[in-house]
Amino acid sequence: MSAPLHNVIIGGGSAGYGAAMTLRARDAACRISMITMDSLPFYNRYDLPKVFRSSHDWRQLLAVPPAQYDVLDIRLRRASRVIDVNGADRVVTLAHQEIIPYDRLLVCTGGRSYLPENLNECAGLINHFGSFEAAMRTAQALPQRGRVIMIGGDMIGIDLALTLLDTGHHVTLIANEHTFWPHVVAPAQRQLLLAALAAKGMTVIDANRPVGVVAGKPGKPARCVTLEDGGEVSGDVVLSFCGIAPAVEFMLGAGIDIERGILVDPHLHTTDEAIWAAGDVCQIWNDKAKSYNFYHGWGNVRVMGELAARNMSGADEVFDVNVADRIDIDAQGNLRSTFWTH
């Protein structure tokens, strides 16, 4: 009797989780391993702002109870980083030197939060929000009615900012070209959107780049952002939401085509017959536009993961690359975005 097929999924976000569940539903016998750098079982990142509503028990955030992974026989390898993928030998190497052979590989590692180069030196003073731990550290650093300075303000950031306002904090948005990423917004609409945010209570600074972040003096707020015009903004926490860059370094030796992201056909298949990619990490061929494009958004990412999984297990489906990508303001002055649909 031959060994069961080993499906390996790199990435523990929406796409990876959706893929794992789909694979198990379609194939009861195969082996499924999920590799993630996170320490927790899957939870939706877009739920993280809940930490500001006093939801400190991560168990409430989980998509399914941990026991489900045992029931479904999905091997969840957490706190594990992939450092190499060898497409010829079909093995994945982890940072702790464990070699994992695969029959089918799905890469959905998403992306890393992008930080403008001129702020790289100050990275230590800028908080993150990409994981439960990072979210909690931010929440613990923020006093009641605290002040948040947000650089950029992509759609993930805007969502968080709205929650921060709603929970009694003050938000200063230093807008730049990444504001409203991944939406491509015309200048006129941009002004309307910024005005809508200001109307919600955000302080909006535009056309004034941040050039540095320093720690505040004793007795003063913890952080101070200096602007290119010499001005300063102080607050308790600085966050950067300037879009994400695909995490693909470990794939460079795999022998597949990579541009900024992993290039896939509309079946989400890479140039290696045993490797698929889904989510923020991949660029999908758009035959109309004759280019490989990213398709961000919480709903898209999940759909891609599930579709890739179906294709890995024998289906022949195609991702609809013609999805609309829209942001607008509704009658109540709230922002609505297809990014946030899930």
Partner: protein, 611 residues
């Protein structure tokens, strides 16, 4: 303290956590566990700890050190640990599943060479457990220029992660390595601190909380002891004067400690040529007035039974410590069992009843050993203190007795009227008559293993009277002051399920009983410490109160069940396991539930019938 993912302000009123450390023999696994348990004791917690060693003398076999620290007294190790530290994944991987949901698995997250799939513990951690991988080796090298202190780095990490006070660990480390070069202590302190910082900086996702220690406890009073160490301490405090022994697992360490300690206390120690000689020298020394003891395990006891019979017949006190291991015959020398009850209570030819005490925890080992000499001397007969491998090797925090509680009682020298002959075996009401010792002027007599008259001379017709004397003199022992011979726990009055137990298994029984009570079952547990003579009154009263009585034992034949059931003529239910490991709390609990259900069903049925 590491940032808590739950309410950081929460400091629960009580603590009950168990940490397991698993590695190979070369990793310093046991040493790490040793520091942790001593630190926990100093912090004021009750501690129970048990180490498992590899069977090979040399090599890299598996070691596991488990430490349970709690604010309330507990009686056994838990089936599940709250945290596991892996110092060697190959050994630790099978134990990853013993960590409970939302507990922590701590491990090395780098390797020096490629590993095949499945060789790293990170792939064996359940979704509900929290993985904490960190670079133990690198931190050790940075702190001490060597990877050898990985285990201390890991210990520091645990302390930092769980918010334990680092200074107490410093104290224990300095004490442990005090006799070595200062650089050794310094390196270990550096390694600990480096790990501590790493643990503190880690975001805490598990819910293992080290809360307050026991109310009003002072860590300084408690002493960490194994059962064997407790026995030795009890014997020394009781004024042991001579010890004779022969090496046998798991009693050897009693002998080895006394080899070192007894001469320092002015006593005399001899390793004999076999167990027969050990028992014989003990009875000979005791005959001549020395407070003498020996210790052995089942196979050695089997050899000693003839000498014990002589002690019973000639009414010479002696103390024998027996630590049980798997049997029969050579059996399982490194596994625990409770299968020598029969041998202790009955072993030897004829009606040779003697006194048998079976403590249930390490403190009990200390007390029973401490009281053994005075009981043996009062009743002029062998006293067996019966423990097992689990107790022998288990560490617990014990508060030593104050006021010389075990100090020897002054001797009663027989007084003769003029012209009267000394009657060593005078038939008195209590069955006890004072003993003359060689050297006492004017009281010369011969004692013998033959049946004998009051004067000690061979005599057959007096056998019924002397048999009665030898048995009836023991009966008052069940009420010996200062000794708990049996005790009831749990619900008072009528209960659905009673659990009767002895020895170390009583720890698991108590935990199961408490869990059942929490589920609403009316139940009660009784420990029998004096196995011979049996405290019949309280045991009978217990049976009167219980609808059913369950006797869980780590032996196949149900030796206590048989003893008690036969003595009081009541039926019992048995639960027997001989896995070489302590009984599983969950199995006892399942049986209690089943019996409680049956009892309720019976009551309901009876009510239906009766009404």
């Amino acid at each position: 303290m590491a940032k808590d993912s739950f309410d950081p302000a929460r400091k629960p009123a009580s603590t009950d956590i168990q940490i397991a450390i698993c590695g190979s023999a070369g990793d310093g696994t046991i040493a790490t566990g040793d520091i942790l348990k001593r630190a926990a004791a100093l912090m004021g917690y009750h501690v129970i700890a048990f180490d498992i060693y590899p069977p090979e003398i040399r090599g890299f076999g598996k070691c596991i050190s488990r430490i349970r620290l709690s604010s309330a007294q507990t009686y056994s190790l838990k089936q599940e640990s709250d945290a596991l530290v892996s110092l060697n994944d190959a050994h630790a991987i099978p134990h990853a599943s013993e960590v409970r949901d939302f507990g922590a698995v701590i491990y090395e997250d780098s390797a020096v060479a490629h590993l095949p799939e499945g060789a790293h513990i990170s792939g064996h951690i359940r979704a509900a457990q929290i993985p904490y991988g960190f670079n133990m080796r690198q931190i050790s090298e940075q702190a001490t220029n060597s990877a050898r202190s990985r285990n201390i780095v890991a210990l520091g990490y645990v302390a930092g992660l769980f918010g334990m006070p680092g200074d107490i660990f410093h104290e224990v480390i300095a004490g442990k390595f005090g006799k070595k070069a200062q650089s050794v202590t310094d390196d270990n302190l550096k390694a600990f601190d480096a790990g501590f910082r790493a643990g503190q900086a880690t975001f805490k996702l598990d819910d293992v909380v080290v809360g307050t220690a026991a109310a009003g406890s002072s860590g300084a009073d408690a002493v960490m002891m194994t059962g064997n160490g407790a026995v030795v301490r009890g014997l020394l405090e009781a004024g042991i004067q001579s010890y004779f022994g022969y090496p046998i697992t798991p009693a050897s360490s009693i002998m080895e400690r006394l080899a070192a300690d007894l001469p320092r206390h002015g006593g005399r120690f001899l390793q004999t040529e076999d167990e027969i000689a050990a028992a014989a020298a003990t009875v000979g020394a005791s005959y001549a007035g020395s407070r003498a003891a020996t210790a052995t395990s089942g196979p050695g006891l089997a050899l000693m039974t003839e000498v014990i019979g002589l002690g019973v017949m000639a009414e010479v006190p002696m103390v024998i410590i027996v630590s049980q291991r798997g049997g029969p015959s050579t059996g399982l020398p490194t596994k625990t069992e409770q299968s020598d009850l029969n041998l202790c209570v009955y072993g030897g030819s004829g009606d040779a009843q003697r006194i048998v005490l079976a403590p249930t925890n390490v403190e009990g080992c200390y007390r029973c050993a401490g009281m053994a000499f005075q009981i043996a001397e009062k009743y002029q007969t062998p006293v067996i203190v019966l423990i097992d491998l689990y107790l022998s090797n288990r560490y617990e925090t014990v508060i030593p007795a104050k006021d010389n509680k075990f100090a020897p009682k002054p001797r009663v020298v027989p007084q003769l009227a003029a012209g009267e002959a000394y009657r060593r075996y005078e038939l008195t009401e209590s069955g006890l008559s004072p003993r003359a010792l060689p050297g006492d002027p004017g009281l010369m007599h011969t004692i013998t293993g033959l049946e004998h008259s009051e004067l000690g001379r061979p005599n057959g017709e007096i056998h019924p009277a002397m048999s009665a004397r030898r048995h009836e003199k023991l009966l008052s022992a069940v009420n010996y002051p200062g000794l708990t011979t049996c005790k009831r726990f749990g619900d008072t009055g009528r209960v659905d399920v009673g659990i009767l137990g002895w020895g170390s298994t009583f720890g698991e029984i108590l935990e199961a009983m408490q869990a059942a009570q929490a589920e609403g079952v009316r139940c009660s547990a009784m420990k029998v410490v004096m196995l011979s003579p049996l405290p019949l009154e309280p045991i009978t009263a217990f049976f009167d109160d219980c609808t059913t009585v369950l006797v869980p034992e780590v032996n196949y034949e149900g030796q206590l069940a048989h003893l008690v059931s036969g003595a009081i003529g009541r039926p019992v239910l048995r639960l027997n396991r001989v896995t070489g490991a302590p009984m599983v709390v969950a199995e006892i609990l399942a049986e209690i539930r089943r019996l409680a259900g049956a009892a309720t069903a019976g009551t309901t049925a009876a009510a239906k019938q009766g009404a």
